[in-house]
Amino acid sequence: MANLEIDFCGIKSPNPFWLASAPPSNSGYQVQKAFEQGWGGAVWKTIGAPVMNVCNRYGTMDYKGSKIIGLNNVELISDRPIETNLKEIAETKKLFPKNTVICSVMVESKKEAWQEIIKRAEQTGCDGFELNFGCPHGMSERGMGSAMGQVPEYTCMVTEWVMEVATIPVIVKLTPNITDIVHPARAAINGGASALSLINTINSIMGVDIDTFEIKPNVGGKGGHGGYAGPAVKPIALHLLSAVGSDPEVIKRGLPISGMGGVETWRDAVEFMLLGSTSVQVCTAVMHWGFRIVEDMIEGMSNWMDERGFTSPHDFIGKSLPRISHFGDFDLGFQSVARIDHDKCINCNLCYIACNDAAHQCIDLKEVQLKNIGNGNGRLMPVVREEDCVGCDLCSTVCPVDDCISMVEIETGRPHVTWNELTKKRPEITQDWGKMEQYRKEVGIHIH
């Protein structure tokens, strides 16, 4: 069993799995129960300004019988008094000294307010702070949450206020509801943040009831944007994580990142960590299944590490980051084509219709000799016309059979050059269609 311990800007955590600041980390009862079941840390549900909640608070995105592939909410920060929360944080930290307890904070944009709550909360013995600059609903309308995170100057300013008084690490939580997340990330760094966490939830309307015309979630006949989370947002989170993680400023300061957004299994966690997360935070999956999912997360990651000879998560954190590149640096000479294993093909012809209607019409339905006569009904099989295949990969993505369609790299003799290199060496090709056509003829690219 691999050692999953991580060092997050000096905070030692028994494993990288933390509860995100959210309903599962609302109380001492919940966080202590989570620690008993194996969670390495918890970011306490945000404490701060007084709030009143509404109901209903959640809307879900379900897909083909699978519940909650996405979850949105209009719940606010903790609706319990600050005093109660601080008392339970102290109690929890005392009971679980080895587990990480991060106190999430959000108050109105006044220096005294921020500094006062930081000083009070430090007395709980918590390991660090997370500044909630991301909540996209309810709080943002009052000038807090994402209203702050969306303006880099505010992010920097408030971080500075906090850093003046904080003696423990401070994580700045970033909102995804912004054009380029790198700007607030740099602002947090300039403000002196010890670490970053992302992503907070994404603005969303979950749906409309087509019988009643009500908005989901429905708050007494009305609805509005809420924060979107869950497995469906993972690709967005991974992108923003990699954007921040590969930013030279972030790399220079060596700030750790706590990643979140759709982490449901150890596999998701590994992906986040490969793109630079030191710890991962989880909410939706716990809201769906409870704290018990952490047992598999720990065991699954540990088995995965053992198989690869990793002894610490720090052996693989960020390992995929160097692969994050830009379109202009991709190899234009890399060519793959689809190959169909006809002995595995079940003849659903989904590849055929996808290629024919939505790609490049390079799959034909033909008679095929099979090795094992699995298919005795004489039906035509999909066959790729390799010389016309553009290697788009659509067919293999729609194929329902494992390893039936594989994308195989072939050598075409074309130059291995990138768009950027081409732009530099022969700019005329990238600006003139006639020259482009000429170049294609020259290197043997035929677009049918």
Binding site: K64, G65, I346, N347, C348, N349, Y352, L365, G374, N377
Partner: protein, 468 residues
């Protein structure tokens, strides 16, 4: 029945008689149906559709269930098969659509039959009328026999504006779907609902009207522009062994019929029952007897397991129901006491050379006679051809036969007589007799009649015009 079909828990001693004769598979709930529909890969040029004799666009109707467009799903089914409700229950899906499903091999095939039933039940419950009587085109067609072939032909013609009259010798329409399918597979209301659907399309039904008795073929051919003969087949033939007229010996089809038309508690059954034959009707009889309460039910068959005509899933079903099978056993005599059956005398058989049907023929084992004690004997060894009808058609109208079945042109289902068309079991000289085949026969004949009377290409337009 296929493994992945999970029937209701069957503990007969805990169930009332009525419960035992409820539909074997419970109806899908909305959630079950949508979940199952979502499993469908939505194949392009799907093998299931190719395997359906009526070429229902199965991926499309399943997709419509998954999107909540159940009404549209039902329309997709009925556009290809007006008897979609019966077919969803009685089709041998394991050898047709589900057998062809691409998920058959390493997964579980989609339960196409049950999904179709879900859509059909929805349409029935909501009382949706999908089609209307077509603009009258002035032609009159008579359909003889209201089984699935007759209903399908009548409905398709009515949609196209024909004036259609169906003659039915029995009290109710629907043919074997009404009278001959075991009630826990298809309740009688389903088939009668299909008769009603045709009535709403403007088809006129004359029940208790038998051709040859109440009305003559001569009059029909004279009075109507076309005649569709879908008379089916007759009763179970005699076994031609001594004692078969004895009390306690029953015709299998009549036995099944009782479950459809009588209160269950009024059906007489034996305690030790022998069923002769090993086709699907024999399986139905044996399982009915078990569900009525017979303690021992044996299927007696002169050939072996490999030659039995029942579908494999029917055979498995019967075994699950506690029916025992006596293969290579030839009945030779019904033994009685005071005119009532007491036992069935049989001989052991061996398999010899293949016969005309390609199956190895049974050969008697000498001195192997033995008796099976029984108080009821049910015969299910096929159906007699209705020679009184075919003779007349041959002698007076020049209709041709193949192996005693009416011979038709495959593309139009027209007989050798220009006005007489035929379909259903009475033309099934080869292939499997089934509801879905009969429905397709009716469609082919309706097209044939339409093209013959209205000209080439005529059949295309009305099908579209019938859409609401």
């Amino acid at each position: 029945m296929a493994e992945h079909y999970k029937p209701v828990k069957y503990l007969p001693w805990e169930m009332s008689l009525e419960e035992r004769f409820q539909e074997y598979y419970p109806a899908y709930s909305e959630r079950e149906a949508v979940l199952e529909a979502n499993r469908c890969l939505y194949c392009h040029d799907a093998p299931c559709m190719v395997a359906c004799p009526t070429t229902i666009d199965i991926p499309t109707f399943i997709r419509k269930i998954s999107t909540g467009n159940v009404k549209g799903s039902a329309r997709t089914i009925l556009e290809s098969n007006l008897l979609g409700a019966s077919c969803s229950r009685v089709c041998p899906v394991e050898v047709l659509c589900e057998g062809a499903c691409v998920l058959q091999h390493d997964h579980k095939p989609i339960t196409i039959g049950r999904l179709q039933r879900y859509a059909m039940d929805y349409a029935q419950e909501k009382n949706i009328e999908f089609f209307q009587k077509g603009e009258p085109n002035g032609f009159k067609v008579v359909v003889v026999g209201s089984g699935p072939a007759g209903l399908s032909c009548a409905g398709e013609l009515a949609k196209r504006g024909f004036d259609v009259t169906v003659l039915e010798k029995r009290e109710w329409g629907g043919g074997l779907d009404t009278y001959g399918i075991v009630v826990f597979r298809e309740p009688v209301e389903v088939s009668l609902g299909e008769v009603k659907m045709m009535e709403k399309l403007g088809v006129k039904f004359k029940f208790n009207t038998e051709v040859g008795k109440d009305v003559s073929f001569e009059d029909l051919v004279k009075e109507y522009d076309a005649v569709f003969v879908s008379v089916g087949l007759g009763a179970v033939p005699e076994m031609e062994i001594p004692g078969e007229k004895m009390e306690g010996v029953h015709d299998g089809l009549e036995f099944i019929e009782e479950t459809k038309v009588k209160p269950l508690k009024d059906i007489k059954f034996g305690n030790r029952v022998c069923v002769i034959g090993a086709g699907n009707t024999a399986i139905d009889c044996a399982t009915i007897a078990r569900r009525l309460g017979s303690e021992r039910v044996s299927i007696v068959y002169r050939r072996s397991e490999a030659e039995m005509p029942a579908y494999h899933f029917e055979y498995q079903f019967a075994m699950k129901e506690g029916v025992s099978f006596m293969f290579l056993t030839q009945p030779v005599e019904v033994i009685g006491e005071n005119g009532k059956i007491k036992a069935l005398k049989c001989k052991r058989m061996d398999l010899g050379q293949p016969d005309a049907s390609g199956r190895r023929s049974p050969v008697e084992v000498p001195d192997s006679e033995f008796e099976i004690p029984c108080d009821m004997l049910i015969t299910a060894i096929g159906q007699k051809k209705l020679t009184y009808i075919t003779d007349k058609l041959v002698n007076e109208f020049g209709v041709k036969l193949i192996k005693g079945y009416i011979s038709v042109d495959e593309k139009t289902n027209r007989t050798a007589h220009p006005k007489i068309f035929a379909g259903g079991d009475c033309i099934r000289s080869h292939g499997e007799a089934s509801t879905v085949m009969a429905v397709e026969d009716g469609k082919i004949a309706a097209n044939g009649i339409h093209v013959t009377l209205c000209g080439e290409g005529a059949h295309r337009e009305p099908a579209l015009a019938s859409k609401k």
